[in-house]
Amino acid sequence: MVTVTVNVNGEPRTASVPPETTLLRLLREQFNLTGAKLGCDVGDCGACTVMVDGKSVNSCLMLAGQADGRDVLTIEGLATLERLHPLQEAFEQLGSLQCGFCGPGILMSAKALLDENPDPSEQDIRDALAGNLCRCTGYIKMIEAIQGVARADGARPAPKSA
């Protein structure tokens, strides 16, 4: 057993797990954060995407121990008590998700993209989502939603406090 402490969505969480436990299992089974999904368990589908230290990763391909001491952001940490994240709002408004199973992973990939590139081209967005398979939507309304958020952010003055 290894003891892992991860800063999840801004709060330190600790669990003791077998060393072969993946970050995905740690989140789902120990921290009860079931937003990240198990779709293939080998990094093909992206349904388990979370952000570790600001980068999107497939949490099924990272050992829990490798996340020890790091910042992990999951879909559950995207909204605040006050409001939805602009991406969540845009996805809802445009009907970007259908069955929704790929949604948490897609949103985390989109967030990681916009954090790094606030003004992505359509090709940039498609490239950013290429690790997230979706069978319902053809990705079209997701791409539109991400474009919308990027444009809105571009038009808006930067927030005074981050």
């Binding site: 990763v57 391909l61 690790g131």
Partner: protein
Amino acid sequence: MKAFEVVAARDARHAVALLAEHTPTAKVKVIAGGTDLLADLKFASASHAPDVVVDISRAEDLRTIAVTGGGLSIGALVTHTEIMASPAIREMFPALVDAAHTIGAVQTRNLGTLGGNLVTAVPSVDSGPTLVALDAQVTVLGPGGERRMPLAEFFVGPRRTALKPDELLVEILIPTENLGKPACFLKFGLRKGQALALVNVAASFWVDAKTQTFRAPRVALGAVAPKVIHATSAEAYLEGRAIAPEAMAEAGRLAVGDAKPISDFRASAEYRKHLIAVLTRRALEGAYDVWQKKQSPAGRAR
């Protein structure tokens, strides 16, 4: 996944010490980004599974990109994303950036490392051809110290490298004489996103500006032999020859003879041979484009 023990390395030397400690008594694997290893182990049978996994993901000394006396040195732990973002690599070797960009998807590239990609030694390894075409060397650290070898020799066969069980790949080095050498990487997969290569090809050569001839031409082929190979007859044909479309096409035809593609459920050997010819020609054209852009004032300004 079968149960295993994980030991974490602080740095490269510590990793090698851990390997030395565990390899005599246990089946040991090294984990860096984990994108290949964990995917493999998820559906591995008991005989395949390791007892101990050495985690080198925090060995920060392996995460550097620098131009040294020997050339461009890339630490084994540098991720594909970091390669794509590196100003030095973008400037000198856009082909390496292109190759990194074709690996998996963003999530894979954020975790996956150059060293990890190379040690998988799958015949279709996307990092392989460009580096082989640039005569890259690899540095391996073992209990007795470092040794260095050409990447082309590091690859031994399908999923087999020259690494001994207690050794670690620590550095990839593009020699000084090849810094800025024009190169082009092309990959043909079954789709655009997250594709596995049916064939991947890299070409690189210097242009003798006076004579407009190929100098030190290199053509490396992936996924069409047990390991990444030099298309030696194509290289020999091009050396000193005038740069012309016909020569590039002929080099493509010759490269086919250097490869031994197999038929599998992804593609037939015949089709792969055809792709070798086309992609080799196009990669040579691409490398020449890179050179030409560098010559033009606009290209230099960029």
